[in-house]
Symmetry: C2
Subunit: 278 residues, 2 copies
């Protein structure tokens, strides 16, 4: 089985970095910093923000006021002492020289670092992101077309079904409850659990998964897992619950309408020709 590795090049290692209860140092308080703050808070980290108050973006100010998870210092970066106990460094300031100095110091301490606008000083880059927690989707063009990444993000956002985040949460809950019923790591039971979860996710629509409340999860485990089967959603839910829930995505409605009117027009024209001949 020979493989062609010649095309395996030119990318990044896209990863979900874990920051829960970690300390992130953010130097700078402008609009780029405001975007960084949202990304860091989502990851459950604490932020130390160093930036003169005069340069704070309104959104940055709002974040500082909104959460005790940000410790704010109204000053510029002071030196290596600011890096003590820090797990990640992000800078978003206009001063290129200071940015490079901070980068050198934090790299010497092996702290992962991102310096806005100076790619060679970055251990990692950010990309366009869809945030529908717990779902996160990141689009990177590896620096070739940030604007296209933004367009692709919008397309993906528009195409995601409403309530997909609920479906994922409910499936997470189902997995947790399943593990309580059939505990243990790995082995045959682990494989059976994984297989059954896969079957549920493959046969149920996202809309139905999103409806899984505690009662429905219990019923699905009783009537499904215990019997080695995957019940249909209509076997688990009352008819009332699913009523009105089936929706055509908007993206299908426009071509369907176009098709309808073309169909009407064609048939009308054909009928007209036939009548004219008679």
């Amino acid at each position: 089985m020979p493989v062609d590795v010649s095309k395996l090049s030119g990318g990044s290692l896209i990863i979900a970095w874990q920051l829960k209860d970690k300390n992130v140092l953010l130097v700078g308080g402008g609009d780029v910093a405001a975007g960084r703050i949202e990304n860091i808070l989502i990851a459950d980290a604490r932020i130390t923000l160093i930036a003169p108050r005069s340069g704070l973006h309104p959104q940055t100010k709002a974040y500082i006021d909104a959460t005790p998870r940000i410790t704010y210092h109204d000053r510029t970066f002071a030196g290596p002492e600011d890096l003590a106990g820090v797990d990640m460094v992000l800078t978003a300031i206009d001063d290129v020289e200071t940015s490079r100095e901070i980068c050198a110091m934090s790299r010497a301490l092996k702290i992962p670092t991102n310096v806005a606008d100076i790619p060679p000083s970055c251990d990692f880059y950010f990309g366009s992101q869809v945030k529908r927690l717990p779902l996160q989707i990141m689009i990177s063009t590896n620096g070739k077309g940030p604007r296209l990444a933004h367009l692709i993000r919008k397309k993906i956002e528009d195409s995601l079904p409403a309530g997909i985040e609920n479906a994922i949460e409910r499936v997470g809950e189902l997995r947790t409850k399943l593990r309580e019923r059939a505990p243990g790591v790995g082995g045959d039971l682990g494989k059976k659990r994984m297989g059954w979860m896969t079957d549920v996710c493959n046969t149920w629509e996202l809309d139905d998964l999103a409806l899984l409340d505690d009662a429905a999860i219990a019923k699905l485990l009783d009537d499904g897992w215990e019997k080695g089967e995957v019940p249909r959603p209509d076997e688990i839910f009352s008819t009332a619950k699913r009523a009105g829930q089936i929706q055509l995505p908007f993206s299908s409605l426009v071509p369907m309408a176009v098709g309808f009117f073309v169909g009407v027009a064609c048939t009308a024209a054909a009928v007209h020709r036939l009548s004219a001949r008679r």
Copy 2:
């Protein structure tokens, strides 16, 4: 402008880690390791692979044979000396105890580490990924529904226009050529460059961007950038080049066909009723 930070939680920091010419230690050679190898090669890193030959997956073997970027050692992990000069550690072995020991050693050296199947020993997780280099899209459900992440990846893959990677490459080339014409970092010129690129990406279809060869890029810069305008694709390309290139995505064809036949049926029924009345 008060912000609600209560929902900013439960996620990860999704980043594009840079590994060009870095050294990645991979311990283990099974099917999970084979997947890791592809991800690392894409990011242009070198790999040191430590795993007894008896446990190598055929795909792992194929990678070892295919590229000098993998240095293979037919043995088990030997100790801290295996971590010298290493920039990232990935383990994919069944031995939980050894995995945890490797993790402890590499964390002591502040080397970013991922241990397959043991989340608490991971600085970062992997997710489902669309790889259409230079485009990379990563889908994470933050551990709630890996199977759903896989389904979402397939949906995104199906919805991406054919040739999107070419469009991104060509836009990257256009940016490079534009920077050669109007060099310099930041300032008003930087803003003007970014604004013009944004206008091009917003007004041109991906299909047209993918057609940008060197001649078309030169013409677009001459007739567009130099005059502060964004020419239409038909002003840049000969008619022949664009002919037959406009395609409806398959996802539109089905609803359009459904609409067409419903339209035909409705009109025929209406005509039939009218004729019957006469």
